[in-house]
């Protein structure tokens, strides 16, 4: 019996780059890096292209003037900027209270049970519905029926279409954010004699504020850039907005309309509008991150 001979060769502790495991390691790291580069490439290219094409058209008049009539030069997209803000505001005013309320109901009042499961499922399906279908739905429900004072296309209808689009995101983030609040916290409040309402409004909701606010801001940012639900609800208007119950211009529809026009001035405005929209959405995302960092510190 010679137990003294080792069955494995004794190796040095020094790192050996030529070993097979180290070579495959490097290979797969390189492949992963390559794919992640390809993944961010479209994002970077789109951003750069829009910033270059649109950035050079930025001027004061862009934010103060109406689009020119076909064939004329100059002009701006002021009406579309106001319109986007207005329509998104209407959408938010509907989607945030309804969505936050629904999320609170799901997370705090109906944690389980078939009804809340049904709502959650429905909500997930609604989140996956293509935005153009939201538009068609609002078109047939509100625009075609001339629900608002006999008007067909209205800013209000556009806002409602965006609200339908935002609703699932707001409900989902509220629901998830509230479920993340540790149960001990609400027990603490209930243990000192707080009612369910006081516990939710004073303890649970403030604790879940950050993820909720982030989700809401992202939902708004997404809605602000939507085109499909607005094309046949808010339509478009080359004029200044005339209240909520008339057709209204918006940046996304302006891009859609002007980019395919055979006039250079309109094409340029489409680029400029793309630039403004991208900056706005970028800003909203940064705001969401800022909320997260600001409140967590």
């Amino acid at each position: 019996m010679t137990l003294s001979t080792a069955t494995l060769p004794s190796r040095s502790l020094r790192f050996n780059p030529g070993l097979k495991r180290n070579r495959t390691d490097r290979l797969f790291t390189a492949i992963a890096a390559l794919f992640s580069l390809i993944a961010v490439l479209p994002l970077v290219l789109v951003l750069i292209y829009v910033l270059i094409q649109g950035g050079k058209l930025i001027s004061i008049s862009l934010f103060t003037q109406l689009p020119p009539a076909p064939g004329l030069e100059g002009g701006g997209i002021a009406n579309a900027i106001i319109g986007t803000f207005l329509v998104t505001l209407v959408g938010s005013m509907i989607a945030i209270p309804v969505g936050v309320g629904g999320g609170i109901y799901l997370a705090e009042y109906a944690r389980r049970g078939w009804f809340s499961q049904f709502i959650r499922l429905g909500n997930d399906i609604l989140a996956g519905v293509p935005s153009i279908i939201c538009g068609v739905f609002v078109y047939s429900a509100i625009v075609a029926t001339r629900l608002f004072f006999g008007q067909s296309y209205t800013a209000m209808a556009g806002g409602i279409a965006l609200a339908v689009l935002m609703l699932p995101t707001v409900i989902k983030t509220t629901d998830e954010a509230l479920k993340l609040v540790p149960q001990e916290l609400s027990w603490g409040a209930i243990g000192v004699g707080a009612s369910k309402f006081v516990t939710i409004t004073r303890i649970t909701l403030p604790s879940a504020f950050t993820p909720m606010a982030t989700g809401v801001v992202l939902a708004i940012a997404r809605a602000a850039g939507e085109t499909a639900p607005l094309i046949f609800t808010a339509l478009f208007s080359p004029f200044w907005p005339e209240g909520l119950f008339n057709p209204i211009a918006s940046m996304s529809v302006l891009i859609f309309n002007f980019a395919i026009m055979p006039y250079e001035a309109q094409n340029a405005l489409a680029w400029a509008a793309s630039f403004v929209l991208v900056i706005l959405i970028l800003g909203a995302n940064l705001l969401a991150r800022w909320i997260r960092r600001f409140t967590s510190s």
């Binding site: 209930i190 000192v192 009612s195």
Partner: protein, 272 residues
Amino acid sequence: MTSTLNQPSTSGTLPSCLSLENVTISYGSFEAVRDVYMDIPRNRVTAFIGPSGCGKSTVLRALNRMNDLIEGCSLRGRVVFDGQDIYAREVDPVEVRRRIGMVFQKPNPFPKSIYENIAFGARINGFKGDMDELVERSLRKAAIWDETKDKLKESGNALSGGQQQRLCIARAIAVEPEVILMDEPCSALDPISTLKIEEMMHELKKSFTIVIVTHNMQQAVRVSDYTSFFNAEAVEGGSGKVGYLVEFNDTERIFNAPVQQATQDYVTGRFG
């Protein structure tokens, strides 16, 4: 079933604060603890001891209807407080919890300032008076005033674990309940914080009735006047074990001269 089960346990002539009458608590169709009779005396510290899964925390939570928050949990029998069955239909559980406060195993201060942690309960219960004075008084009673008086505006989460737990006790005291339930309040704390809380409990029992669940038998000996020993046993045809009250008596008697063999085995560490 052993003969110990339905033996009514009383604590002599002391006025009782909370009475459990034939209480059985179930989660769904599973009975967690069965047929508990107990009279918890006023202005004393009563400890619940027993092995894990014997239902002592479940019984504790039943005393201020905290079990209402657990889905499927139901109670049979009566829990009488202030002459009233707190499980009666017309009783408001929020009102019950205002008069029977609770401190939990894990310190759970609200993510607010120390001051607001104390003021919260008082404010929602309609306290009108000198809030600063109430905050100071509550923090003093919980033996944490000296450590926090200079940083009342700081977040309760910035305190150490032991300080957080004392803050939670101060928070419970601030609403001036009659009973304070403590569910293993020291299990997450170091020995020095534990000692501080135990010392404080001796002061607190002058104004409150205290019920404490503990896994630490030395702690039960140190802090409690009365001890109830819970045990669990397998039932025929059942899947799990069912808890029951074995013995309830003076702490001294429980630890030195218990009536039941099971108690004797448990307190001397000869428990299987």
